[in-house]
């Protein structure tokens, strides 16, 4: 029997995760089009978290994700995905590092997105998060997708 740390979530596969992060980004686009900016922001945060979990499966050659990594801590997920050293070695003030820090800082607020009224988040803020993630040069998702 595997140790507590090595237990897998057999109800979920890496392929599910690979589809889910793309679906969350599609959800975000649909929500933006409907003017639901807070929900779009939440969907984008889910997407990066799920994408990192998918990359962990790839890195560890796992068909199912580890139960132990059913967490929301991006500092931890980026370590297990194998990207923390590359990230730490980047020039400190680089736009990519800044975008990463913005996302990590905001990811702490996921509960606000669940429980607070939608008027708290604006269209511009939704665009800002989208830029931090998907900017073709310095977006965090853009960068992650290019990492081997």
């Amino acid at each position: 029997m595997p140790s507590h740390f090595a237990q897998l979530n057999l109800g979920l596969t890496a392929a599910d995760l690979d589809q889910a992060w793309k679906d969350r980004l599609d959800d975000a686009e649909a929500l933006v089009a409907a003017g639901r900016h807070g929900a779009a922001i939440a969907a984008r945060l889910y997407a990066i978290e799920i994408y990192l979990k998918y990359r962990i499966c790839q890195r560890l050659n796992l068909v199912n994700p580890l139960k132990r990594l059913e967490i929301h801590d991006l500092d931890a997920l980026v370590v297990f995905a194998g990207f923390s050293q590359v990230l730490a070695a980047m020039p400190a003030g680089s736009n990519l590092k800044q975008n990463w820090d913005q996302i990590v800082t905001f990811s702490d607020d996921l509960n606000d997105l669940r429980y607070r009224p939608a008027a708290r988040w604006s269209q511009q803020q939704s665009k800002d998060l989208s830029r931090w993630l998907d900017d073709p040069l310095d977006g965090v998702m853009t960068w992650l997708k290019n990492q081997k």
Binding site: G38, I41, D73, D75, A76, V79, A88, A92, G93, N95, Q98, W100, D101, Q102, V104, T105, F106, D108, D109, N111, D112, R120, W121, S122, Q125, D128, L129
Partner: protein, 119 residues
């Protein structure tokens, strides 16, 4: 190698000192800037949000670069501290806008000034 908690504790101490020095170098009054932080000792990370009226209407990327540049000079002998550091620089205006730019509940304010004692 230092223990995780030592690195995190030292980071808070040194980074707050350096950010305060940066603020002084800009000629800012103590009431015109704010330092918030959150520690993640399990992963040797400390996240700071440095807020100032002096960043109002300035390009956020350029403002952050100028703060990083200052920190890299001030803490050049403290590479482990710099590696542990997550830094977000915000204008006071942005923080007041709230939403994406609100200070999250996990962050503590580091008081650079203290209320006067009443007794």
């Amino acid at each position: 190698m230092a223990k995780e908690s030592e690195i995190v504790g030292r980071s808070v101490f040194l980074v707050v000192g350096a950010l305060t020095k940066f603020a002084k170098s800009q000629g800012w009054d103590d009431l015109d800037y704010w330092i918030y932080y959150k520690t993640n000792p399990e992963w040797d990370k400390v996240h700071f949000i440095f807020v100032a009226k002096g960043f109002n209407d300035k390009d956020p990327y350029e403002s952050t670069k100028s703060v990083w540049s200052y920190l890299e000079k001030e803490l050049s002998g403290e590479q482990d501290v710099l590696r542990s550091l997550g830094l977000v620089v915000r204008s006071k205006k942005k923080v007041e806008e709230g939403g994406l730019y609100a200070i999250g509940p996990g962050y503590e304010e580091f008081w650079t000034i203290y209320p006067a004692q009443t007794s």
